[in-house]
């Protein structure tokens, strides 16, 4: 298994720059997600690491060795596209053993390796089954087995669960992560689904328009998004943004809306006057009669344990996640209080996060 290092990696297609100088290191044995909307450059980045695409600039290091211009086949990486592409005329054992057969490995050794792989995936009992007879989950395991059997240095996966329905996808997320915990293979996983990335990855790189906007653990990215883009992309419903044109009050301990002032955590950077955006996660909002931010309930969506309540306020539409035991009437006027130490602030022009003391303490704590 291997460490993967990407240095100033860049890819341009004619006038269009698909990937701008990207830098990141994926530690040996870790599960790394490249997350972003379609067209953000995540698949291009993955394809360059795999050797399916040549970079315009920068380097790719596999265990310290420069493989930037090495052919895909010589990189010892397994690329998993769609986990369902199996050879229908072969049984499970033949499907898993196929890559070894292509390498010219002997029969006995192939058989041993296939058996070992099947054991890891817990599908030994299926080895002589026809692939067409398998359930969706088992097919997926066989496809994974075919990637694993070569014992590659790393797995690259491009939206492998994209075609599955929501419930099955969730199940497979758990399986993939469990498998990763057993074999600890360096994995890069490309997805546009924040839930998949959050659920499985040790670290996530959030990409937008060819740039890596933030790299961090799922919780870091969720708690302290580096930009409005990241804050909006992670979380469901996403972070609420309240645009504040009046900016900060003079001692920078509150943001002022027209006639409302909301206290904020102490800033850790100098800031010129100017519009900014207050960010608050839905679960950090509570109903509170005396609260200064007031609005009208537009709708309430029951979800079992919690409910999502949409409130129209002077400052914009806000979605709050409340316990479902809180009684809510559509049309009623409510006050909203925000959990002080969980507020985020962004520059309204650039969208970049503004450093505050609560982000700092969270970072070191």
């Amino acid at each position: 298994m291997a460490q993967i290092r990407v240095e100033n990696l860049r890819k341009a297609f004619d006038q269009f720059t698909a990937v701008h100088d990207s830098n990141f290191t994926i530690e040996n044995g870790s599960f790394f997600a490249l997350l972003g909307p379609s067209g953000c450059g995540k698949t291009t980045t993955l394809r360059m690491i795999a050797g399916l695409e040549l970079p315009t600039g920068g380097r790719i290091l596999l265990d310290g060795e420069d493989v930037t211009f090495r052919r895909a086949a010589a990189r010892d990486i397994a690329f998993v596209f769609q986990l369902f592409a199996l050879y229908p005329h072969m049984n499970v054992e033949q499907n898993i053993g196929f890559p070894l057969k292509c390498q010219g490995m002997g029969r006995r050794e192939t058989r041993e390796r296939v058996l070992e792989t099947a054991k890891l995936l817990r599908i030994e009992h299926l080895l002589s089954s026809k692939t067409s007879k398998l359930s969706g989950g088992d097919r997926q395991r066989v496809a994974l087995g075919r990637a694993m059997v070569r014992r590659p240095k790393a797995f690259l996966m491009d939206e492998p669960l994209g075609a599955l329905d929501a419930e099955f996808r969730q199940l497979m997320c758990g399986e993939l992560r469990d498998l990763h915990d057993r074999i600890a293979a360096t994995t890069i996983y490309v997805t546009h689904d924040q839930h998949e990335a959050m659920s499985m990855a040790d670290r996530i790189a959030v990409m937008n328009a060819g740039r890596v906007e933030q790299i961090g653990s799922p919780q870091e990215i969720y708690d302290r998004p580096a930009s409005m883009f990241v804050a909006d992309f992670i979380g469901s419903p996403p972070m609420n943004f309240l645009r504040c044109d009046a900016g900060l009050d003079p001692d920078a301990r509150a943001v002022k809306f027209k006639d409302v002032s909301i206290p904020i955590p102490e800033l850790r950077e100098q800031r010129p006057a100017g519009p900014l955006v207050l960010g608050v996660r839905p679960e950090h909002i509570r109903f509170s009669d005396p609260a200064p931010v007031r609005g009208r309930v537009f709708g309430a969506e029951y979800l079992g344990t919690t409910q999502i309540v949409t409130v129209t306020t002077e400052q914009g539409t806000v979605k709050a996640r409340l316990p479902s035991s809180v009684p809510v009437q559509v049309g009623e006027i409510v006050g909203l209080s925000f959990r002080f130490d969980s507020l985020s602030l962004f520059d309204a022009q650039t969208g970049a996060a503004i450093q505050t003391i609560s982000q700092e303490s969270a970072h070191h704590g």
Partner: protein
């Protein structure tokens, strides 16, 4: 709008019982969602109500009038399909006006204009009325498709997974919109889906259907908190309810016929496990298998005697994989061998 009722309706296709002895009353102004996997009989039920299929047994009535043998066109029903099928050569306005211009209806043009404009306003597509249907985004197209049903004032709207082809964000937006429109119009809607979130968030009442059988009909809260059946319990809630074989929990008092204990993720509490407790033998101890970070909360996957259980925890709770924790079951649900709920009357 009107009441619609189905009494002992059955439909077979060859060997398959698509709908079995289904009885259900849809009250005026209700938003009923039929929730079930594909093949459960949801769409067949809709087709029976429209008259696109006729039942082998049972009665279907609209506003007290038996329509079981009536032709589809005479039943006063509007249908929204999964795939928005708009007329590509027509503008949004003409697409919306189309059902009213049917020769059978003879609606005068000024009335049509008024209805179309009202509907467009309701759906926030007024600015798009002059656009060709093909120039719209997916969400707008689906709004127009829903609008084409809404311009009429039928006894009931039947909707077959109308949001399933949209992306997650748009779906969330339209869920809220559709619910608002339904309340504003006081419309009666029968909506089928396999998406539990759509069912929970929009329905006045949910009907959980499986293998052609209506297992339970109730408000989202009733279905979630008081499921009649193990399948119903597992159908709602994310992550889904933990189902534990009763024999694995020897020290908990439960009704004697209990085969399975259902415990919702939010009702499975974990506490620090102190070895001292081992002496009294009563503690249910599980091991943290994996911690899944989802931002607003963590899902803690626990191994309890070979069963995988899931519970919720604060994202900043100090837990780690491999750690032993004591499990506490709050408000467990008991199910018998057939999967039916047993009332929890323990003395």
């Amino acid at each position: 709008m009107a009441n619609v009722s189905l009494r002992h309706v059955s439909k077979r296709f060859g060997e398959i019982n698509a709908v079995r002895d289904l009885s259900m009353a849809i009250n005026d102004g209700e938003f009923i969602v039929l929730l079930g996997p594909s093949g459960a009989g949801k769409t067949t039920t809709l087709r029976l109500i429209t008259g696109l299929e006729s039942p082998d047994e049972g009665l279907i009535s609209i506003d007290g009038r038996d329509v079981t043998r009536d032709a589809p066109g005479t039943r006063d029903i509007a249908f929204v399909f999964q795939q928005y099928s708009l007329y590509p050569h027509l503008t949004v306005y003409d697409n919306l006006a189309f059902p009213l211009r049917s020769p059978a209806r003879r609606v005068p043009e000024p009335v049509i204009r008024k209805r179309v404009e009202q509907t467009a306003e309701l759906l926030h597509i007024t600015s798009k009325l002059a656009n060709r249907a093909t120039k719209l985004s997916g969400g707008e197209m689906q709004r127009v498709a829903i609008g084409r049903a809404l311009v009429r004032d039928p006894a009931i709207y039947l909707m077959d997974e109308p949001l399933s082809s949209l992306d997650a964000k748009l779906r969330a937006e339209l869920r809220l919109e559709l619910k608002r429109i339904q309340v504003e119009l006081g419309a009666t809607i029968l909506y089928v889906t396999h998406d539990q979130v759509e069912a929970m968030t929009m329905a006045s009442r949910i009907g959980v259907i499986r293998d052609g059988e209506l297992l339970q009909l109730g408000t989202p809260r009733e279905i979630y908190e008081n499921p009649d059946d193990r399948y119903v319990a597992s159908r709602l809630g994310t992550p889904s309810i933990n189902l534990i074989p009763a024999h694995l929990i020897p020290h908990v008092a439960m009704p004697s016929a209990t085969e399975t204990i259902g415990i919702r993720t939010e009702h499975l509490r974990i506490a620090k496990y102190l070895q001292v407790d081992k002496a009294n033998g009563g503690a249910i101890v599980g091991r943290v298998h994996r911690i899944e970070h989802l931002g607003d909360q963590n899902h803690i996957h626990l191994d309890y005697r070979g069963q995988m259980l899931v519970t919720l925890a604060d994202p900043h709770a100090p837990l780690e994989a491999g750690q032993d924790v004591e499990l506490q079951l709050v408000r467990p649900l008991y199910f018998d061998a057939a999967g039916r709920r047993i009332a929890a009357t323990i003395h």
